[in-house]
Subunit: 454 residues, 2 copies
């Protein structure tokens, strides 16, 4: 008699002390936004609200309940107690407009992104393929895919499915060229995991295939789609409070657990030969380009001490980037051997900006960042003012769902004949990859400066 | 009928809600530490405490009042309402043990450090010399030096004064060699502003003179003496919560106001030829060495885009430092052209540490820093835990007074015949200068790696 329910919600405390809840109820790709005021919001599960009427098939399997900004609980709910009103809308219009994803492979990251496809109001999952049909079937079940999802024992079958509009490709990087090109040739829009390719040459083949087929290309760099990212860009663009950018430093590091450093795909020279540079470094390089308005640096100089595993795959590295203009510089450091860090520090002539969880916010619903402008020493330099201010940017949908939603929106536009593929996204991928290539080249020639070719 | 009073205090809230105040009352080098419990601590100036009896000459000019951790007020107090009991102690013992400073020159920074000499309980000011007697006299008055302070129209006269135990040398760097050596030869202990010299060769002459005369040498890197620095070192040294250090990034930048970039001493090639590298870069290089337990890097590679003023003095630059062992790296960036930043980000195998005001705390009485350990991705990598924690380290005496106090303590030990000069401080100065020299050398040979010579 118990099933599980998924509520994604955010809360705001009102001036009178009561709480406003905004919550999304999702199942099988269907999503409703609700809000409610109540006096108290969390007393175990007996919070001060009735679960209101919403569309919910009684037999669904739901994933979890997220309560408050800071904790998530995984709790059974008596579905029988929920006041069901009607089943999800399946009108022709909804069915037509929702973009249907096919997923190639059962990578771990696909769990998160498939959840996002179900959270996003304009997408759904219609197929998953793996080299093993059993694996695909189990993955679909474990991740609460719609019952209608087709499970295939090959990637090709997904690409041949006429009910698939777009594919998400979380395969190891070495396989991107083959499968992304084939997907584009089969007229499937391509959401491609990063790093998008082993080098710009490979990426160009993928992008050419997408352009030739008129399909949308986007890499799965989720943080680009968090509303915080746009807000931070506003700060960087403010001539009065930031001035112009002079220096950026970004890090992304985390410790691979267990036998990660030996056996994970990300350190396998045959699967992800770029190692930490392609995995974590990708984000920091993108962050630097993002901060500099995607103006490419002139040269890249790798730091002298990369670390490698026994197979020769990079586990930690960094580089300095030079624009040869106005003293503009940037540095990044990425590592599988240092505790989690996800920092951007951007220094401008009039202000600066810091963020410490830019890749994946510590908390799914709130992204903080810190800025200060026009700092001044206090009298006798006994201190300085003002202190940095914290900004918290809330989001109801997590950044990966916003990414999927944006991808879906672009694909919808193309399908309706209202738009051409958005060229911004392949351009950003290619610029990021070009810097990665330069870092690799600099390492290969002994940490000397390398021109960035684009 | 009104004069001004200086109270430096910190507060702690007790479990019963009342507050414990610890405050220092200072004037003319005399300092008393007091504490008091009271129910409420701040209601404008009518806080819930009587200003208690303390030693205070009725005619003194006081500087300011600092209330709470976050705000400073500059307020007149009716001195006539203060319950004066007696005048400052001038017993023979006090007079003998208090270290008497002579100050060479009227640099701006000397205002802050002379205040520190008066705040520190074991030091005082007995002389100031300038090339202009009028300037020295005005400086002594403006900065509330003891009335007994001797004012001289030359630096030599300070060095020849038998009532001067130690000299503080805030002169431009080009003058350090001459005056620090002469001071040491005159058996004066030397507190020397940074950068200590134009290069290690000059510094060695200073250090040799100090060693030969048996006097203490210390550079005026104030943040080394903040209790936060020791606490942060504890964090970095914790094998369970930090692991071992892999990467450090440090910045120190601020915007020189007015005609700073053309006319300030710090960008005058004849006075401070190292420019921002010697001024701001000094701190970041020291921070990196501090974090790495003062193990020198093997090589230094300057970033490719330094900026210069019209006189060829560096206004912004940076470098990467390599230990050629265990992937240990560091980077720093310093600038007179970017808004204030004073960051250290240290990444260890199990934790990390961040501080954003390491050079001069935003607030004189509280130094915050941020750490996190053993971070883990949440389920589905929807977030990560734990979030960084803030630590706030309070100090009653500001860091520059703690510096002066420590210098005074070392000098007292030498004067009593109980101790030899502490070699730690000249060693740290020399290591910092050695890295600066390597950065200069790397810039001069086109941003190639340079071995650090020590």
């Amino acid at each position: 008699m118990h099933s599980r329910a998924s509520l994604n919600w955010s809360r705001t405390q009102c001036s009178n002390g009561s709480w406003k809840l905004v919550y999304f109820v999702t199942c099988l790709g269907f999503l409703q936004k609700k809000s409610k005021f109540c006096k108290a919001i969390c007393n175990g599960l007996n919070f001060d609200m009735d679960i209101p009427a919403f569309s919910l098939p009684r037999t669904s399997v739901w994933s979890s309940i997220y309560i408050s900004s800071y904790k998530s609980y995984d709790i059974d709910i008596a579905v029988s107690s929920l006041p069901f009103i009607h089943t999800p809308p399946t009108t022709k219009k909804m069915a037509e407009t929702r973009i249907r994803f096919g997923i190639l492979g059962c990578a771990n990251i696909a769990r998160k992104v498939s959840r996002a496809m179900l959270l996003s109001p304009n997408t759904t999952i219609s197929a998953i393929g793996s080299r093993s049909l059993e694996k695909a079937t189990a993955f679909a079940t474990e991740n609460h895919f719609p019952e209608s999802t087709k499970k295939y024992g090959s990637y090709e079958a997904v690409l041949d499915d006429p009910d698939v509009d777009a594919v998400y490709v979380p395969l190891p990087t070495s396989l991107h060229l083959r499968w992304a090109v084939l997907a584009a040739e089969k007229k499937k829009h391509v959401l491609l995991e990063k790093p998008v390719a082993l080098n710009v040459g490979e990426l160009d083949k993928i992008l050419e295939a997408c352009e030739s087929s008129g399909v949308q290309f986007m890499d799965a760099t989720m943080w680009m789609h968090h509303p915080r990212t746009a807000k931070m860009k506003e700060v960087l663009s403010d001539p009065q409070r930031f001035g112009h950018l002079k220096s950026v430093h970004s890090t992304f590091s985390y410790v691979g657990e267990g036998d990660f450093l030996k056996n994970d795909i990300r350190v396998n020279p045959n699967l992800d030969a770029l190692g930490v540079l392609g995995d974590a470094g990708w984000y920091s390089i993108r962050a630097i380009l993002w901060a500099y308005g995607y103006e490419l640096p002139k040269t890249v100089t790798a730091f002298g001490d990369p670390e490698y595993n026994e197979s020769g795959v990079i586990l930690s590295c960094g580089a300095s980037l030079n624009w040869k203009e106005d003293g503009k510089v940037a540095t990044f450091y990425c590592s599988f051997l240092s505790n989690l860090s996800m920092d951007i520090t951007a220094l401008g002539t009039k202000g600066n900006l810091r963020v410490h969880d830019f890749v994946i916010p510590f908390n799914e619903n709130v992204g903080p960042f810190y800025t200060v402008a026009n700092s001044r020493w206090a009298e006798l330099s006994l201190g300085c003012e003002p202190e940095p201010s914290e900004f918290k940017i809330t989001t109801v949908l997590p950044q990966e769902a916003l990414m999927v939603q944006e991808f879906g929106r672009l694909v919808q536009g193309i399908r309706c004949g209202e738009a051409k593929p958005e060229k911004k996204w392949p351009t950003l991928s290619r610029k990021t990859q070009a810097v990665i290539d330069a870092v690799v080249a600099s390492i290969n020639i002994g940490f000397k400066p390398v021109d960035v070719v684009y």
